[in-house]
Amino acid sequence: MATDSLVRDLTRITAPDRVLSSPEDLMLYEYDALSSRQAPQAVVFPESTQEVAAIVKLAARLGVPVVARGAGTGLSGGAVVTEGGLVLSLARMKKILEIDFENLRARVQPGVVNLDLTLAVADQGYCYVPDPSSQKACTLGGNVAENSGGPHTLCSGVTTNHVLGLEVVLPDGGVIRTGGKYWDRPGYDLTGLLVGSEGTLGIVTEIIVRLTRRPDDVKTLLAIYDRVADATATVAAVTARGITPAALEMMDGFTLRAIEAATHAGYPLDSAAVLLLEVEGLKEEVDEAALALDTVARENHAREVRTARTAEERDLLWRGRKNAFGAMGRLSPNFYVQDGVIPRTRLVEMLDYIGEVEQRFGQRVGNIFHAGDGNLHPLIMFDARNPEEQRRTLLAAEAIITKCVELGGSITGEHGVGIEKNELMPLTFSEDDLGLMRRIKAVFNPQGTLNPGKVLPSGKMCGELRIQVS
């Protein structure tokens, strides 16, 4: 498809200044937070569902692939072009359409930034629960596509637990509404299927989410350890004792020294690991749970347990955690973050294994985990200018993911499959499982024009990770 005529047709649908086609502009859209691929033929910024539908219809007629994109903060290549075509950016569809406190719902466009929704309802005492670390930038549409999590999803669930309805543009340009403001509309739960489908089934143009009353009280604790094994033992003990913290994060000494250097969060530089624990609820519940956590941590040889005394202290502790990935840039020119999940009872075993992987491949690994739900983010350090290091990094990552599956876990907890792990899907799904997913994809996206090459394995390669770092 000649780009010139594509651009001409697009400008008949939207204003000319909402279509990008110059090489300098397109270059920015080669990337997401994982890696860079290729530049799209054009980028278009629709401002309404009708425009999205018209663009999708045009693309279908021309046989041009369409890749929906929010803020481009994804970590699995979901929003980058792999087979040419069009990037459909939802960045301009960023209106909060309705806030309905009495029904505890909000209706938003997909380009609304995650944190902006919480800020819009905060003064009335509400929030939107799922809080990915990129929440200052990432969009709710992207969250829906990836079924995003975040540190606070331990007790309150991930995106799918907070989305009740969608408006969706299908690849033929048709528009449907799924679910609604309430649970239990009869019929199949299309909303539940679409959340986490990574833009391969439809383009979401409106989202109905649950709003949650902010808790009465919150307490954040930092437990400091001289041995990593004591920190992991604490995690197991917390789960086994039936305490459900709102968040339970773990960082190893190597990682937290990097974070401390970058954000001055007050993390102890000489420790082997820390746990960041948070409890929320009624003041009485929080006092009890915080005391229980303090006890469990000390029983498992925490050197010290600090409790944030003020909101500022709490924010500081969290700032360190949420800016962790950025801070790692100080240690290494590049790093590759993994997203495997393991049963929480296997944490000790997994950490030992990651240690072995470090030795075997000679690449340093920093460990930062959503420990409470078994979701690991090992950060493998490397220098992309060195092809040998790149090779070893991929092998190390693959070994870690394979181990997660062996331990009964998953290849991805919240970052998505995208183009990064689609060839690894056979590690965890049989040909029959994948065959059914293909049939379901074909119901929505029979021509495969929507976000091609993502999620499902191509069958052309045999089980390898794909990143390409520029």
């Binding site: 719902r105 539940g192 049963p343 739900d373």
Partner: protein, 452 residues
């Protein structure tokens, strides 16, 4: 018996064993759905057997309805065809249990009560209070998405299922999700199966996220003078930092039936007198906080709060959670409706329903899952309510932004009404999904939404 099934019985026997296929008339009658009897009953004992039975049935163009105890089989349109009852009663094993990781995987025929009992050893549970209660099967409560009032605090089945194995009509057992609490690998097909009423595939294993049991609980009763007061109370509680486990509103009709009065339009009181039951969990200090704050909210509205003793509370919550099934089983109430709508519309819907039913000489026993938006109604009258009444109640639910399904009614009435209500603009996709899973319409044909 039709000729088609005579030959296939041997085929089914080859899959599950001769003693596990029955064409006995009385046995088949026990599996009748809306008066339609199957030609044979097949008892499957494993996921693979279920898949093989489905494949075999599909290849002979036979229709299959899976079930366990049948607590929810009355829900749905009359089956368009029904040849084989697939009983899952022998599939009640626990496949995987890791109490320290808070995960369990079980077979669909396991009774929910047995599962809770099993988990109780480690002080764990699946925090659901489904219709059918302890007798509900795991497969059935998932297929019917049977969330009770506990959804207010914990969410519903869709929020607790981590993965599934599903037998499909092409003879495969497919997996979706997994056994870890966070997982975004592949499409989430478990969501499609939950609430699909046995029309896509048969759930042969389900993995649940587990929760620590709430041991210390307390129940309070508030008796607001009017629905307006009830509405204010619900609003105030949801706006407060309190997070009760469940809250239910009972109208006078529901109270009368729960008190043991026999149903009858003239014996059920009119539209006055409401009860709001509230349950919360936590330590003594936490319960004391609930007592004082709920008490203050009630007092502000002139509706005093009363703490109910635990044993009495346990007796009331069971039929409340199981209301739709309980009304039929214990009180022989013939027509049960379930409406779902935005949280704030539910009280008004109950009010309208009472009024509309009254003009038809019909009394309403109604409960509202406050804060959830689900209303269950039993219609009590001397004769079957007219289809126009169902239509008008549905109109009320729709105009309040919700919908209404008839979950139980006599066959004659069912023939004259829409069980599920009208489909929306996403129905075409649902129809295509059904065809992708079940191209020959083998599973529960015609029973679901839009005649799927």
């Amino acid at each position: 018996m039709s000729r088609a099934t005579v030959g296939t019985e041997t085929d089914f026997a080859a899959i599950v064993g001769e003693s596990r296929v029955s064409a006995d008339t009385a046995t088949c009658a026990g599996f009748a759905v809306d008066g339609v009897r199957p030609h044979c009953v097949v008892y499957a004992a494993s996921a693979e057997q279920v898949a093989e039975v489905l494949r075999c049935a599909a290849s002979h163009e036979l229709a299959v309805i899976p079930s366990r105890n049948g607590t929810k089989l009355a829900i749905g349109n009359p089956p368009r065809r029904y040849d084989v009852a697939l009983s899952l009663k022998d599939m009640n094993r626990v496949w995987y249990y890791e109490p320290d990781d808070l995960v369990v995987s079980v077979e669909p025929g396991m009774k929910f009560g047995d599962l809770q009992h099993f988990l109780g050893r480690h002080n764990l549970w699946v925090p659901l209070d489904p219709a059918g209660g302890e007798r509900a099967s795991v497969g059935g409560l998932l297929a019917a998405n049977a969330a009770g009032p506990l959804r207010l605090h914990f969410g519903g089945p869709r929020d607790m299922v981590l993965g599934m194995k599903i037998a499909t009509v092409d003879g495969k057992v497919v997996k979706t999700g997994g056994r870890v609490v966070k997982n975004v690998a592949g499409y989430d097909l478990a969501k499609l199966l939950i609430g699909s009423y046995g029309t896509l595939g048969v759930i042969v294993e389900a993995t649940f996220k587990l929760y620590p049991r709430v041991v210390e609980r307390a129940t309070w009763l508030v008796e607001p003078a009017s629905l307006a007061t009830t509405r204010s109370l619900r609003r105030d509680i949801l706006r407060s930092p309190l997070r009760p486990l469940r809250m239910t509103l009972l109208n006078a009709g529901a109270q009368a039936l729960l008190k043991g009065e026999e149903p009858g339009p003239d014996r059920l009181p009119g539209a006055a007198g409401f009860q709001v039951w509230i349950e919360a969990g936590g330590s003594e200090r936490v319960i004391a906080r609930y007592s004082s704050e709920l008490g203050a909210l009630g007092a502000k509205l002139g509706a005093p709060l009363r703490r109910i003793e635990d044993d009495i509370a346990a007796k009331i919550w069971e039929p409340i959670a199981d209301f739709g099934v309980w009304l039929t089983r214990e009180k022989q109430v013939p027509v049960i409706l379930r409406a779902a709508m935005p949280i704030a519309a539910a009280e008004e819907f109950l009010e309208r329903a009472e009024r509309e039913a009254q003009t038809e000489n019909c009394a309403v026993a109604g409960i509202v899952q406050l804060g959830v938006g689900v209303v269950e109604l039993g219609l009590v009258s001397d004769r079957d309510p007219r289809p126009e009444l169902i239509a008008s109640l549905r109109h009320s639910a729709t105009s309040l932004g919700g919908n209404l399904a008839v979950t139980r009614c006599p066959a004659e009435l069912k023939a004259q009404i829409e069980v599920w209500g009208p489909p929306g603009d996403d129905f075409e996709v649902m129809r295509k999904l059904k065809a992708a899973w079940d191209p020959r319409n083998t599973l529960s044909p015609g029973r679901f939404f839009g005649g799927v």
